[in-house]
């Protein structure tokens, strides 16, 4: 095995000093002269016809620069690129379709004036029926939007193999209907943007996961050519998918153009909840058929997903939910019928895992149920059916490396699985769930699958990586410096990284699909090799030195192995040989992957990360439960930064746990988010932390840099089913609906007790429920 100097080590974050001193500049920290401030009037109703919209009083308010409604916006219908359905508007025209739909915008000398003027806008609505649940949308008695009959945003129906035949042959069938709510990403930094218009050119200071696509959006809505728009990347206070599709920077840019001015807009936390793009809630009915030995035969799934009132990333998320989970196991056949439905709430999109956590919540509980029916250890049942190295899955994924078995072995060890299953402690339960994801799925992106990177060398010896992706807290900028440091032997802290300044960097499809380390990392590695070759060639051809090899921060004679000059000296010689030009190492990675055929079949990613997650829960005498411990073991390929990789595991696991036990937007029948503050939505605090034990399996993938795959999304994916399975193990109740809040848990527990009492099983409950354990074989029936 290779010995690396920087790869795999806990190298400090390069943006860390700026962040711990408060010097890091985030979007809302941008303060420019002569700035106007904008505020949006959001709909007060989830579905209504606008009868009257009167902005006269607001316009007359002192200090107001402009008040705009849909009719003022020339390209109001050019919104948005996201989704294939192109059915969104900048501002609401005839109808409002969710609380948060944008009705009017005030631009004023200060935020306070804009807020005061907003209150002077008169709107009269004619209320229309509100479609707030998937079942209601499916029945289609009421319409979310009058222009979308049936409420259907997208259908997917795919069958591979002969599902009916396999189900007919099955010895055991298990499954059910599992529902997963719409969750919010809750990145801590609210959206903010400042746009500067001057003489036909536009600069926008903002945060994004997709700098080039937000530029495309801005171009579409403003009519300004992309080459005249510069996106200035600010430090980003978290993203988790939410910054794939952000109305705020686009609208801010539009206002700057309309007013020929500098305009700033910052969301409040309430606006973050109401007017952004939370995750898709899903209802998934899934059944798995197996033979008597527990070999999986087939899987049948009906899935409903909630798009919200307009399309955002809903179609891609739904497609991934429909297919991805199947690929972890050997199925002979599979059928999926997925329907995306319009609902009168905020348009939904990407959240860490991109539909995969929703499907894993269903699939991994169904497998658990199957294990109960077969009276098998659920880890054994999974091990029996996992895919192997070099196999191709039912949807066309091809695995060069697959460390799922090693993940399972490590997870069992770290949880003490066998021991805990043998000697069960009353009131405690353990659960397991496995996961698969992609390192850089194309996720429906038609442009290209890969990434490219530039590495600039100046005459001073300064090295700058130029890439079009984003630093969203995951630490990619530090990974860049580690790769450059490893290849050239320079100090990682001396390497500069520019991420996303659209006037300087290569085009990028965005920061998503856990693709940066694997796809972009290899492009950076190639850029390093290219730069070294260019330097070596220049020294030989122009200076008669060498051949040399650039390593350890110096130029060495290729044959003698002796140091000839320092890296900085070589940089001066190279630059001066060409009249001062910088040298650009160019790296391009073009993975051999498919976009997928019409049925979604194809090898979507260059590599696939696997993982096993286990949860241990305690049920207390008062009818509540706690998640005590979560074990999270990941096939990461090769760890690039051990400390940051573990940070991804801790963060993802806690997000996953909170998503199944605490968080909910609590959307009511009127389409109103009852949890629209951080207090009510309940992101976890220090006090809700379980013990998290993370570990890695290094399979050394042939594609990624140094064998790396990815770690960003996987830790969130299978936490929810692991917790649900552990609760089943503890109390014999299948929690098919998330979130499993204390109230729901207690309700189900009492129902179970009453049922037990009816069956004349004398159990001393509720005082003693934590001590009771049911026979799992009976409990599932």
């Amino acid at each position: 095995m290779n010995e690396y100097k920087y790869i795999g080590k806990p190298v400090r974050r390069i943006d860390g000093q700026a962040k711990v001193t408060g010097r890091a500049v985030y979007s809302d920290d941008v303060i420019l002269p002569r700035t106007l401030h904008a505020k949006v009037l959001h709909a007060r109703q989830s579905h209504a016809k606008i009868l009257l919209l009167d902005t006269e009083q607001a316009k007359a308010y002192p200090g107001v620069a402009a008040v705009y409604t849909a009719k003022d916006i020339a390209r109001n219908d050019k919104y948005f690129r996201m989704g294939d359905t192109k059915d969104t508007w900048v501002l609401a025209e005839e109808y409002v379709r969710y609380i948060g739909d944008m009705v009017a915008i005030v631009v004023a000398e200060s935020e306070e004036i804009a807020e005061a003027a907003l209150r002077l806008i008169k709107v009269e609505y004619e209320p229309l029926p509100v479609v707030s649940s998937l079942q209601q949308a499916k029945e289609a008695k009421d319409l979310t939007r009058c222009d979308k009959p049936g409420n259907v945003a997208m259908p997917i129906v795919v069958e591979r193999g002969d599902v009916e035949k396999d189900f007919a042959q099955a010895a055991v069938v298990a499954g059910g209907t599992y529902t997963f709510p719409s969750l919010h990403q809750v990145h801590l930094e609210p959206n903010s943007a400042t746009a500067v218009y001057n003489m036909g050119k536009l600069a926008v200071y903002c945060a994004s996961q997709m700098w080039f696509h937000i530029r495309e959006d801005i171009s579409a809505v403003t009519g300004i050519a992309e080459k005249d728009i510069e996106i200035k990347p600010m430090m980003i206070g978290g993203a988790f998918g939410a910054r794939n599709d952000q109305p705020l920077p686009v609208i801010t840019a539009l206002l700057a153009v309309m007013l020929k001015a500098t305009v700033k807009m910052t969301n409040t936390r309430l606006e973050e909840f109401l007017a952004c793009r939370p995750a898709l809630g899903m209802e998934i009915e899934t059944w798995i058929a197996a033979d008597a030995e527990g070999n999986f035969l087939s899987k049948k799934t009906k899935l409903l997903s909630g798009f919200g009132a307009y399309s955002s990333d809903g179609d891609a998320v739904t497609a991934i939910a429909c297919f991805r989970g199947d690929n972890n196991y050997r199925f002979r056949s599979t059928y999926v019928n997925g329907t995306g439905l319009y609902l009168n709430h905020a348009p939904t999109g990407a959240y860490r895992g991109f539909g995969n956590p929703q499907m894993h919540f269903a699939l991994e509980q169904a497998i658990d149920e199957l294990a109960v029916k077969l009276n098998m250890d659920p880890t054994e049942l999974r091990l029996k059916n996992f895919m192997h190295n070099h196999e191709t899955s039912i949807h066309g994924f091809r695995y060069e490396t697959n460390g799922i078995r090693e993940c399972m072995a490590q997870a069992k060890e770290l949880m003490g699985w066998d021991e805990k299953r043998k000697n069960k402690t009353p009131g405690k339960g353990i659960g397991v769930a496995a996961l698969i994801h992609c390192s850089g799925s194309r996720a429906g992106k038609p442009e290209f699958a890969g990434s490219s990177a530039l590495l600039r060398l100046e005459s001073s010896g300064a090295l700058t990586v130029l890439i079009g992706e984003s630093e969203i807290g995951q630490g990619m900028n530090t990974v860049c410096t580690q790769i450059v440091a490893e290849e050239l032997g320079v100090d990682p802290l001396s390497v500069n990284v520019v991420m996303g300044d659209t006037s300087l960097t290569p085009f990028s499809t965005g920061t998503n699909g856990s693709k940066l380390t694997s796809n972009l990392g290899i492009a950076i590695l190639f850029a390093c090799k290219d730069l070294k070759k260019q330097m070596s060639d220049c020294l030989r051809e122009r200076w008669g030195i060498g051949p040399v090899e650039i390593k350890n921060g110096a130029a060495y004679g290729e044959y003698t192995g002796e140091k000839i000059m320092s890296f900085d000296e070589a940089a001066v010689k190279c630059s001066h040989a060409f009249n001062g030009r910088p040298f650009y190492g160019v790296g391009i990675f073009e993975p051999k992957t498919d976009l997928g055929d019409a049925t979604g079949y194809g090898n979507l990613a260059p590599a696939y990360p696997f993982g096993v997650q286990m949860a241990e829960v305690t049920v207390h005498d008062n009818g509540t439960f706690t998640v005590d411990k979560i074990v999270s073991v990941h096939d990461i390929g090769k760890t690039i930064n051990s400390q940051m990789a573990m940070g991804q595991v801790y963060g993802g696991v806690l997000q996953g746990m909170a998503g199944v036990t605490l968080e909910s937007l609590a959307i009511n029948k009127e389409g109103i988010y009852q949890a629209n503050t951080l207090l009510e939505y309940k992101p976890p605090t220090f006090l809700e932390m379980p013990e998290i034990v993370g570990s890695f399996v290094e399979t050394i993938d042939p594609y990624g840099p140094y064998g790396a795959k990815c770690i960003a999304e996987p830790p969130i994916i299978a936490v929810a089913p692991a917790v649900a399975n552990a609760l089943y193990d503890a109390v014999g109740i299948r929690f098919e609906e998330a979130p499993i809040t204390p109230a729901i848990f207690r309700k189900k527990l009492l129902e179970k007790q009453r049922e037990n009492q009816r069956q004349n099983q004398p159990e001393k409950l509720p005082e003693n429920q934590g001590q009771q354990r049911t026979n799992p074989k009976e409990a599932g029936s």
């Binding site: 860390g16 920290d29 303060i31 951080l678």
Partner: protein, 164 residues
């Protein structure tokens, strides 16, 4: 809009300052917009997330639900006061060494809460850290490495006290 203007006088990061401000101005807005100390963040505006945490006479407060005039005559310390631009405070060093920073938006508030905690309780146990810091939300780290950072800072500051 016509709030009365008042004179606010306080000690801000060790220096006496004086400003005319409207009576309804929040401390976070005073710090960020008047004094241009943008290290403290306004992330919820409701005292729920702690990204705006600053110290008032050494005690951690949510500056987003505190009126600027409540700081009258008091000492306010913000994240900008912890480093001189060349060296970092041991708490800042510990956050970097422990990997306690990801997106960094909660970090200034976290560090100020840590400073207040370690002033009051120089060697806190894990449960003590969790309870003292429960008013600061972080969405990235899962908190584990922040706890490790607080412990590391505590050890180093203790060592420094013993050495001096």
């Amino acid at each position: 809009m016509n709030a009365t203007m008042y004179e606010l006088e306080l000690t801000l990061n060790g220096k006496k300052v004086k400003d005319m401000i409207p009576s309804d101005m929040l401390l976070i807005d005073y710090l960020r917009n008047v004094r241009l100390l943008t290290g403290s963040k306004k992330a919820c505006g409701a005292g729920e997330c702690g990204a705006c945490t600053v110290l008032m006479n050494g005690r951690p407060i949510y500056s987003c639900i505190t009126l600027a005039l409540q700081a009258q005559g008091k000492e306010i310390e913000t994240i900008e006061n912890l480093s001189d631009g060349d060296t970092l405070h041991p708490i800042q060093e510990a956050y970097l060494d422990a990997g306690a920073v990801q997106c960094g938006y909660c970090t200034p508030g976290m560090i100020m809460s840590t400073k207040a905690l370690l002033q009051k309780e120089p060697q806190p146990g894990t449960q003590c850290i969790k309870e003292a810091m429960a008013g600061n939300l972080c969405r990235c780290t899962g908190y584990q490495q922040i706890i490790e950072a607080v412990q590391l800072a505590s050890e180093r500051m203790e060592q420094r006290r013993r050495d001096s």
